[in-house]
Symmetry: C2
Subunit: 390 residues, 2 copies
Amino acid sequence: MALSDEGTATGRVPGIADLDTPCLLLDEGRLTRNVAAMRARLDGFGVAFRPHLKTAKSLDVARLAMASPAGPAMVSTLREAEYFAQGGVRDMIYGVGIAPSKLDRVGAIRAAGADLALILDSVAQADAVAAWSRGHADRLPALIEVDADGHRSGVAPGDGALLAEIGRRLVEGGAELRGVLLHAGDSYGLSDPGAIARAAEAEREAAVTAAGILRAAGLPCPVVSVGSTPTARFAQGLAGVTEVRAGVFMFGDLFQAGVGSVGIADIALSVLASVIGHQRQKGWIIVDAGWMALSRDRGTARQAVDQGYGIVCDATGRPYPDLIVADANQEHGIVALRPGATAALPDLALGARIRILPNHACATGAQHDRYHVLDGAGEVHAVWPRIRGW
Amino acid sequence: MALSDEGTATGRVPGIADLDTPCLLLDEGRLTRNVAAMRARLDGFGVAFRPHLKTAKSLDVARLAMASPAGPAMVSTLREAEYFAQGGVRDMIYGVGIAPSKLDRVGAIRAAGADLALILDSVAQADAVAAWSRGHADRLPALIEVDADGHRSGVAPGDGALLAEIGRRLVEGGAELRGVLLHAGDSYGLSDPGAIARAAEAEREAAVTAAGILRAAGLPCPVVSVGSTPTARFAQGLAGVTEVRAGVFMFGDLFQAGVGSVGIADIALSVLASVIGHQRQKGWIIVDAGWMALSRDRGTARQAVDQGYGIVCDATGRPYPDLIVADANQEHGIVALRPGATAALPDLALGARIRILPNHACATGAQHDRYHVLDGAGEVHAVWPRIRGW
């Protein structure tokens, strides 16, 4: 099958029985429903939706998720920004704190027509962005990253002196202050809708506080951007917020199911694998999807239900009771019943095909170059390429 | 820079200061020394060396590791087999139990001139391989996988009835019985050279036992293949073995350093990253290498010394005392001193470059499309592409 390097698929589409294993399957119906539900939810709050494309890394998926072919969208690498810009996306935020050495690439993407904005959380970054702006006659737009919950980067929301100083350096130095951006990453550690709603409210309040500080200092703050899949799913109010970002919800995964952000029946992504052996006395079925196909992500190990390297389903996507990928080597998955299971091990012959629901859609997707897209009948009706790298 | 899709690099080579981060660095001197040491060790035992190319996935690296440009070599996917065959490798074993649906691809690789052998551990596989051989006038060579230590696949070495039955089905069915193959994967859980030497002896003894059973049944067993990086490093005798396989030793990694198979100063692979922020009150330095660049592999978490997501070095590769990637998000690494450290956090400014030694070379390498190859002066002198997929 011919795949264009950086576009959508062309050529013959194989049937699911013809696919080489392991490979990645994407249930388009579930994807579309997940996106529609999120869009309806955020429409109800009157806020814009900026899908994070770091999970999908695919223009075909992006076009289903974005409000328009031009965006808005969020990206995690400049490679994504370049790829999506070539595909017509015009409104993007690069959501990783900017390093000065990356500004020339940012400028090139902008010069080609995309409005790519940056994030930063230090005076040093603001000065570098302002200096680049002056030197290149392009007022780079930047959002100040604010730390909602201490999990990673960002200015403390109450540190008004630093917020205003960063903002002033940008504006007076010749760049553009576009707003504030937060990501409530600690919500990933929760599993109770009420607790996630409180995390969403803390994220919202920190965002509005930071925006208020900038505005009180006479600085602009048109964008107030928050988001994570859990807080987007359970926020009860978004007053003062202008946009919400989320990405992994599109596909869902077992980790987000453990958090409660998605249901297992909503998970759109799976890995198709073949049985390649048995160790019957141990209750093991060996399959050709190891950690290279599933990723090394074991995020559910820290949750109430440890899903191993994933839940095992039949070829149509129906989970077998209590059957998981209990362990994985590079190209081998060891399928077994979970500890304490009362179900019987299914009789899967050599060559039988299974589907594995992943712990983490971002990590599992990244191990593959393409999606085999399933229609409502479970047949492959398209192949969508995905990108990688930086 | 122009990179051919499936060959060696062409065009301009960037200096290390010009590289976009994150990216993968390969110290060619260390690689060459690691290979030379393994080759000298195995030469001393009078056994052939079949490098496993699943870590490298690069023709440039393969040519340094193999005894000749034609091999022998070991691969973990048919994609690797196709790629290396196109690059002139003629003697390969595909080291994952064969699924019948893959035999047509195996046949195509063989028809193009490469002697690609299979492994299997069941009568059902032997019958499928024999049937394919009869149907295509190509006697597919197969090795019987024997289970040295119960860690994954393979026939129990003392199960003479099953070994002989598989062998007979192959030979009488029209395929070729090429020998037996073992992988002492449980040696990865050890850390004492004496214990690893005992694991190597158990692997050797199981191999020789299985080969003896086949020969006693009047069946051929020309190849007796064993190997893993730890057992290849510490085996004290290899009588009856014809070849040894190992792969990750070429690059080394922190997991193998924890096992004792390599020294930290031998690790040839690292990820170059840039500082993108600070959380000074927490003692955190934020860098642009997260788990996407480092992989989700946390293998050292189960060892005596947990290296987080990797040891942090300066741009020349010298480790900072007690500095590790303590946590990682998709595109963010959180660099911090390890718990209990007495060293001071180094003062790394915005934009400063670091190198991160990985937990697992196979997993980290797989996140990247190319190696930036360092010469003895620490300068990039070549870019070598690497492949992925199945």
